[in-house]
């Protein structure tokens, strides 16, 4: 499933958030978008997933303009988890995840055993099966986040876009979620696009890194090419020392400038 953006520009009033972005999301890889606050990461993700329409440029899903494809059809190919998603308080985890099956159902089509099976396995994958009858207001921030990730997974789309899926999670669940995503990539051939803040996590899990600065792509490529001392200084204004280990790049931070 191919997702590309050609010359995407987007502005809120006079303030241009994205300017002329060229992006191609590599297939069956984990791509991580990195960049400082307000550089347009979330806007880019929303544009790529047709939540907002870029004022200039075009997003192509499998070569077709995404805004001309019926939305329900897109929803079978691409799912997007927005930043800090919200749902009704009294809804149970089970019911929430069932909403992920919505795009696959015709108006009168019943919720079948196949759907139930999918919901069950996704709940097991995110480790919430035992809590499936809890309602959203009884969950911790991390459980909530995992519940919404499960909803996106239940959509069973080849493309997964997630805006800071590890926010609110402790280290254990950060690894858990990212391992889960890596598994989905390896076993189910999913294409995954993430916004992350943690450079270590990005370099550990990202096959492809896109570094954004002020609404333009500053650098993109493999982590050791992109996350260099100079680039990080340029984009984040930090002194960072990349160290190569067996796992990949690790960073030692000394100070901000």
């Amino acid at each position: 499933m191919k997702l590309e953006g050609n010359g995407i520009s987007y502005s809120f009033g006079p303030h241009e958030v994205l300017s002329n972005i060229e992006i191609s999301v590599p297939k069956n890889k984990i791509t991580v978008i990195l960049g400082p606050n307000g550089c347009g990461k979330s806007t880019l993700l929303k544009g790529l997933s047709r939540l907002i329409k870029p004022q200039k440029g075009c997003v192509y899903l499998e070569g077709r303009d995404i805004n001309t494809i019926p939305s329900k059809e897109v929803a079978k190919k691409l799912s997007i988890l927005p930043q800090s998603p919200t749902g009704p308080e009294g809804l149970s985890i089970w019911d929430l995840v069932c909403f992920g099956r919505y795009p696959h159902k015709k108006p009168l089509e019943k919720f079948g055993i196949a759907d139930e099976l999918i919901v069950n396995t996704t709940l097991e994958k995110v480790g919430l099966y035992d809590l499936k009858d809890r309602s959203l207001d009884q969950l911790s921030g991390g459980q909530r986040q995992r519940a919404f990730i499960a909803m996106a997974l239940a959509q069973e789309t080849p493309l997964l876009l997630l805006d800071e899926p590890t926010a609110f999670l402790d280290m254990h669940y950060q690894f858990e979620i990212l391992n889960l995503l890596r598994n989905l990539k390896d076993k189910d051939n999913k294409t995954i696009l993430l916004v992350l803040h943690d450079l270590n996590m990005a370099s550990l899990y990202g096959d492809h890194i896109i570094l954004l600065k002020d609404g333009v792509v500053f650098k993109s490529g493999a982590s050791d090419e992109v996350l260099t001392q100079e680039n990080l200084f340029e984009v984040f204004g930090i002194k960072a020392l990349p160290v190569k280990s067996e796992e990949g790049l690790q960073f030692v931070f000394s100070s901000i400038i």
Binding site: K46, S49, R50, L51, P70, S71, K72, E73, V74, A75, K76, S79, I80, L81, P82, P85, T86, G87, P88, G90, L91, D95, F99, G100, Y102, P103, K105, P107, L108, A152, Q155
Partner: protein
């Protein structure tokens, strides 16, 4: 769910029978003289059936508005839609007295759509509280114009005033025919799209992600809700609280899934109308108290009860 539906259905049937028997003329349902039968068939039966048709309309208009505005305080009476419908209906009755009453719903719908337009212009992207307040303002606007129309035309007011309080008096089989098909079609249609309506519990981004078009869906359901509310106003005049409170009571009983909320809320509304109509005919015999007055008298304490539950919910 099945048990609750059956209980409510039984209650509605019992009150139907009671209301068929209630009135100045007393008779047994199984042993009627020809005169009794005439009263039963031409006056009481259509009234009772009309309650069964108008109840779902009121419940639907409230349940839909509450979902799409994500606001438990929404309903066509709170948002001023009913006030606009009533004004349009009143003006039709006063200025075109010769028009057949079957045209009334057309005018009430037009009035409701004007209020809808105002809410849409003023109230978009508003928090639940400001939306409710905007609605209250719109309500006051239209009800003061209504009072004005009433005071400058006070001579020809008798029929119009009875309509304005929301009354089932003198409703005939013609009203039943007028309500029958739209109610069934809309009830079926909304249940068919209930899954989409359920998505309005989420943010617009999540709705879009799931392949729904939030703005289009909101517009579509809003118009359906205005249509339901105005049709009910057109047929019996404005009746307060039923569309606001029936869906809330139903949510309390069966949760938030509209596939369950809509049937239950409809039955609650039917029961409420039947009960109010029954009381109205019994308490001050031989005078009949209009159904709209009784629903409001019952509605106010229920409203306070639900408000207190909200407060507790927020406190927790």
């Amino acid at each position: 769910m099945l048990k609750k539906t059956l209980i409510l259905l039984t209650l509605c049937l019992i009150i139907s029978v009671m209301s068929l028997k209630a009135g100045v003329l007393k008779f047994s349902l199984f042993n009627m003289s020809p005169d009794d039968y005439l009263v039963f068939y031409t006056i009481r039966l259509p009234r009772t059936i009309l309650c069964w048709l108008l109840g779902p309309l009121l419940a639907l208009s409230g349940a839909i508005l509450q979902s799409i505005t994500k606001n438990p305080l929404s309903s066509p009476d709170i948002l001023g839609i009913n006030a606009a419908s009533s004004l349009a209906g009143l003006m039709t009755l006063v200025y075109f007295p010769g028009l057949p009453y079957s045209y009334l719903p057309l005018f009430t719908f037009a009035g409701g759509m004007i209020a809808f337009g105002l809410i849409f212009l003023l109230g978009r992207r508003m928090s639940p509280v400001s939306l409710a307040l905007t609605g209250v303002a719109i309500h006051i606007l239209f009800s003061s114009i209504t009072s004005m129309v009433v005071s400058i035309n006070s001579l020809q007011m008798q029929a119009a005033l009875s309509w304005l309080t929301g009354s089932l008096w003198g409703k005939s089989w013609d009203h039943v025919t007028l309500a029958f098909i739209p109610t069934l079609i809309i009830l079926g249609m909304v249940l068919l799209f209930a899954r989409n309506l359920n998505l309005h519990q989420f943010s617009d981004d999540t709705m879009k992600n799931l392949g729904s078009r939030p703005n289009f869906s909101r517009l579509f359901f809003f118009i359906i809700s205005v249509f339901c509310g105005s049709l009910a106003v057109g047929l019996m005049g404005p009746v307060g609280f039923v569309s606001l409170l029936s869906p809330q009571a139903a949510r309390y009983l069966v949760g938030n899934d509209l596939k369950k909320v809509i049937p239950i809320a409809s039955l609650i509304a039917v029961f409420w109308l039947l009960f109010a109509d029954f009381l109205g005919r019994v308490i001050l015999q031989p005078i009949e108290v209009p159904v709209g007055i009784i629903t409001s008298i019952i509605g106010v304490p229920c409203f306070f009860f639900i408000l207190s539950r909200f407060k507790r919910g927020i406190a927790q």
